[in-house]
Symmetry: C2
Subunit: 320 residues, 2 copies
C-alpha cells in the first residue's frame, strides 16, 4: 500500500499557536524549515499562510507533495477537515482549494496520526508491526499503526484515547462527558491539580505557591513539570499520580489493541522521563492477564516536536 518514494515532500503542522513546516528528504530528515504564527479563528489567513510556506519551501522541489497536519478530524481520504478544535474549520474541502492554489498534491491528516506515522517510519516504533502512539500535551492525542498502515477507523476518527471514560462521574471534560482519561493524565490535568493545591494554600505546595505568588490562575502543567524536575516533592507527587493514571489507561489500551510498543511523545511526554517511568510501572502492574502474555514496550518518542510535520509530509508522499 505504501510506496516509500525517494522524492522530497513538504510537511506542515498547524498548531494552535504556530505553523511549523519543513522540506523533508526520503529518510525523514528536515532539509529546510520555516515557522509562522497561526492566525487563529481566521481560516482564510491559515490557508494563505500554508500556501505561503509551501511556495517558500518548495521553490526547488516543484513536484514535492504536501501533507498538512492539524488537530481535528479529517475525512478518510484526506480531502476535508470535518472539525478542528483550534481552527475555524467545519467540513472544509481544504485539499481541493490548496491543490488548486499550489498545483501540487495535498493530503490532510490529523496531527496525532502524522506524529505516529513519523515515529513508525523514522523514530521509536521503526520495525514494529503494532504501534500505539500517544501525544501527551494539554490533552491526549492518539493514533494506531498496524500492519504497516495507520488505522483510522471507519469514519477516520479512531485513536481518541483521551476520551475513554475511566472514572464514572469524574472530572468534566471539554468533550461534554465526565471522567475522560485526559482529565487525569495530561498537562491540563496537572495544571488543575496544581491550581487546587495553590487555591487551598496547601503548605506542602510552598514551592509552587511561591512560583506563582499564590495566584492559582498562573499554575500550568508545564510549571508543575518543571518544578518536579527541579526536585519539588509536591510537584513530583503530582507527576507520580498522573503517571499512575497514565499507566492504567495504557493497560486498558493493551487489553483492546495488544500493541508491541507504546510510543509516548508530545510536550508533556517529552518533558518528564519520570512520568513515563511511572506510567510504565503502573501499566505493568495493571495489565490484565499479566503473567500469561508479554508486556508491550513503553518508549519515549524520538522525533520531538518535528514528528507532526515529518509524518504529514511522509504520509503525503507514501499515500498518493
Amino acid at each position: 500500500m505504501s510506496e516509500h518514494a525517494p522524492e522530497p515532500a513538504i510537511g506542515i503542522d498547524i498548531g494552535g499557536t504556530k505553523i511549523a513546516a519543513g522540506l523533508i528528504d526520503h529518510d525523514g530528515r528536515i532539509v529546510r524549515e520555516v515557522r509562522r504564527e497561526t492566525p487563529r479563528h481566521d481560516a482564510v489567513a491559515v490557508e494563505a499562510a500554508v500556501v505561503d510556506v509551501v511556495r517558500e519551501l518548495g521553490a526547488d522541489a516543484p513536484d514535492a507533495p504536501v501533507g498538512v497536519g492539524a488537530a481535528g478530524w479529517m475525512n478518510l481520504d484526506g480531502s476535508e477537515v470535518l472539525f478542528s478544535p483550534h481552527l475555524a474549520w467545519r467540513n472544509e474541502p481544504l485539499q481541493a482549494r490548496l491543490e488548486e492554489a499550489l498545483s501540487r498534491p495535498v493530503m490532510l491528516t490529523n496531527d496525532a496520526d502524522a506524529a505516529a506515522w513519523a515515529e513508525y517510519r523514522f523514530g521509536a516504533a521503526r520495525g514494529e508491526s503494532h504501534v500505539v502512539c500517544l501525544t501527551l500535551g494539554t490533552g491526549i492525542g492518539g493514533a494506531i499503526v498496524m500492519g504497516g498502515e495507520l488505522r483510522r477507523g471507519r469514519f477516520g476518527v479512531a485513536g481518541e484515547f483521551g476520551h475513554q471514560s475511566i472514572v464514572p462521574g469524574g472530572h468534566r471534560c471539554a468533550c461534554g462527558n465526565r471522567g475522560c482519561w485526559e482529565q487525569y493524565a495530561s498537562g491540563n490535568a496537572l495544571g488543575r491539580e496544581g491550581r487546587g493545591l495553590v487555591a487551598a494554600k496547601s503548605p506542602v505546595a510552598h514551592a509552587l505557591r511561591a512560583a506563582v505568588d499564590d495566584d492559582p490562575a498562573l499554575v500550568t502543567g508545564a510549571l508543575v513539570t518543571r518544578l518536579a524536575a527541579e526536585g519539588d516533592p509536591a510537584c513530583a507527587d503530582l507527576i507520580v499520580e498522573m503517571g499512575e493514571w497514565l499507566g492504567l489507561g495504557l493497560a486498558n489500551l493493551a487489553a483492546v489493541l495488544d500493541p508491541g510498543v507504546f510510543v509516548i511523545g508530545g510536550g508533556l511526554g517529552s518533558a518528564s522521563p519520570e512520568l513515563i517511568e511511572t506510567a510504565e510501572a503502573s501499566y505493568r502492574k495493571s495489565l490484565s492477564g499479566r503473567g500469561y502474555r508479554p508486556f508491550a514496550r513503553v518508549a519515549r518518542a524520538q522525533l520531538g516536536a518535528a514528528a507532526g510535520l515529518v509524518g504529514a509530509g511522509d504520509l503525503a508522499r507514501t499515500h498518493r
Copy 2:
C-alpha cells in the same frame, strides 16, 4: 490475504461444558453437526474428543481443514494454546498433535475471534470494513475485524474488552484487577446484583426472591434475564442498569477504534433485546465527539451459538 475457497471445512467450538462441532459449506451453513460433553480439566480427553468428532464429521470430506476455537489465548500462527481459562492447557502445541492424529490442516483460534469472523463473513457484519464484536455471556469476549482481517494484536491477545478498567477501585475481577468492564456488564454482573437484592431481602425483588426461595446462591444472570423478560420490574431495572454500563464501554471502544458496527452476541446478548437497546441509547449519549461524527450501528449477532464453530471452520479454510 483470505482465499474464500469453495471446499467444506470442519469447525469445532470447545466450550466450558460442551464441544460443538460442524461440517460447514462455503456459505457458512452447517451441513452436519455433532456435540459432546467437554471433559473438563482433562486435556488428553479433550483432544481425544476433538479427534473423534472430526473423524465422524469428516468421513466424506477427507481434505476439509479443521478450525478449533476455545476460550483462551492462542499464539499468532494458531499452533499453540497459550492459556485457556476452562481447560487444562498451558503452552500446548495442540496444532501439531491434532494434525498428526488427523492428517489434516488444523488451526487454533480464540472463540470470540471465531465468532466475530463468522459474523463478518456470514452474519450481522457482512460487508462492513471496521467491526467490533462482543460475545456477552458470563463475561465479555471481544474481537476486531478491520480491512478484511481479524486484528489479533502483536501477541495474539487483542480484543480483551471486558478487562478495560472503567471503575477505579470497583468490583474485583477474576483477572486480578478491579473495576473491569465485565464486572458491570455481563451475566456474572447481573447474577451478582441479583444475589445482592435477594441477600438483602429487598422487598422490590419479591419475584426474584420467590424464584429462588430466598436463597441468593441460586440467582444467576440467566434467571434475572428471564424474569426481566417476563415483566418483573426489579429484574428489568438490573437489565437497564447493565445496558447503561454496556453503552459506556461501547463509547470507550468507539473512541479508540471507531468501528462502523458493533455486533453483540453471546448467550446474554442474544437473550435480551432490551439490553442491547439500552446499550445503544447509552452509547449514543456517551460517545465523545457526538454531533461531529457518525454513530456506529449496534447490531445483534445473527448466527447465535453456532458462530464459534462456523467461524473456526471458515478461518481454517481461508487462512491456510
